[in-house]
Symmetry: none
Subunit: 249 residues, 2 copies
């Protein structure tokens, strides 16, 4: 096991789980805890994580350089993103919708997982290319000014030619009564078309979406495979949602 590779592994665990336990990793990789501790110390010196008793944690947002903090999602979105990334199997093809939560997902995508990421959003496409080694396929079409996503007839046609395992759907409203809603009619149609071409569809439900309703219906709650929510979210609406859809937290 190469030292550099070990560090990559540590970074990945940190991104996936939000923490690193030195002892566990040492046992996992079959090396001494000393080596892990040394790696963690070096990564901490490089400013990539903070060392704590027993392992390491990500750098708290407040301590990060400002340029990083500006483009950061809220903590709720980051937790949802982490949970969602955990659903991605190796060697799979996934579709990432536009949105801040999916953008947060791009930062915690696993390396070396042989992923293909399809997206209608130029922003997401660039972010995936920058942060991971996944193949990136962009769906063409006219950019909707509303959401900066390819939509319209060109996009609808492009969608007909794709197929994927998972679709991570972003909406602006998730409500037990009104279902999944978003603000733009074209976008809603594109989202539906993508969902129809994917084996499973998961909705990303960060805090502020739960219980909200927008103008354009996208899908019914029972039309999706699951709803990924913030584990820390205690909203009672989630209980009501759970009666109609499988809730993952």
């Amino acid at each position: 096991m190469l030292s550099a590779q070990r560090k990559d592994h540590l970074r990945q665990i940190l991104r996936r789980d939000g923490r690193v336990v030195a002892k566990d990793v040492a046992a996992d990789l079959g090396v001494s805890e000393d080596s892990i501790r040394r790696d963690l110390r070096e990564l901490a010196d490089a400013g990539e994580l903070v060392r704590v008793y027993g392992g390491a944690l990500p750098i708290p947002p407040a301590d990060r350089p400002v340029d990083q903090r500006a483009s950061l999602a809220t903590e709720s979105k980051e937790r949802v993103a982490r949970r969602a990334v955990g659903l991605i199997p190796l060697n799979s093809t996934i579709v990432l919708d536009a949105g801040t939560t999916t953008l947060a997902m791009t930062r915690v995508l696993p390396h070396g997982a042989d992923l293909t990421v399809i997206t209608p959003s130029p922003t997401i496409a660039l972010a995936v290319a920058e942060h991971s080694d996944a193949r990136v396929v962009i769906i063409g079409g006219e950019l909707s000014r509303f959401s900066m996503v390819a939509s319209g007839p060109l996009a609808m046609e492009a969608v007909q030619h794709l197929a994927a395992d998972l679709f991570f759907l972003g909406v602006t409203g998730i409500d037990p009564v009104h279902g999944l809603t978003t603000g733009n009619l074209d976008d809603a149609a594109t989202k539906r078309a993508i969902a129809a071409r994917c084996t499973q569809t998961y909705v990303l439900g960060s805090e502020e979406k739960i219980g909200a309703t927008s103008r354009c219906p996208v899908l019914d709650l029972d039309a999706v495979s699951g709803l990924v929510v913030d584990p820390h979210d205690t909203s009672p609406v989630i209980g009501a949602l759970a009666e109609r859809v499988s809730v993952l937290r």
Copy 2:
């Protein structure tokens, strides 16, 4: 075992396993570790991988040639961009290639000109949407890691369905003998396909491209409608180019 053959083998292992362990490969191929180390060092010098203690790893995504974002447009590029934008008629449909010069064009696009801008580059798409009121159409396909442009079979197919008045082509080499060249084979094919679907093609020739030659031929000089160069550029090569193509400055 030839050195070049060995290097191919190393590249292959790196792609397959995501790492190379010098000792293992040496044993596998029946050559000394020294030779493997030499090969790895050369591949690292060529920027194909990063050398680490014990072997080598792929280049981390963050360090790849993302010249688009990093480098600001030089003054030469800005003058070329301004001259090129002057060629755009009202109510037209144009294709903007990827590149820093086209990126500079997005900042000086006219407002209220009822433009449609088609592009295979997510970066350009976002820039156009931000700086102008043009309709933006993005060409889908697999993102080439080299240039962050949609290319490959999907892009080729998407290109067949478009039509435009003007194509502003970006290349990395413009030479009287070798013609128009770029660094990536797939990209070159995409550029050719786009040019075939546009009434006119103009090449953007900022200073550093004039007289330069890259590996992959894109088009002959006489296959394009014109070459837009920096009015301040006094390179004698431009004279030689003018014999084969109409030069606009």
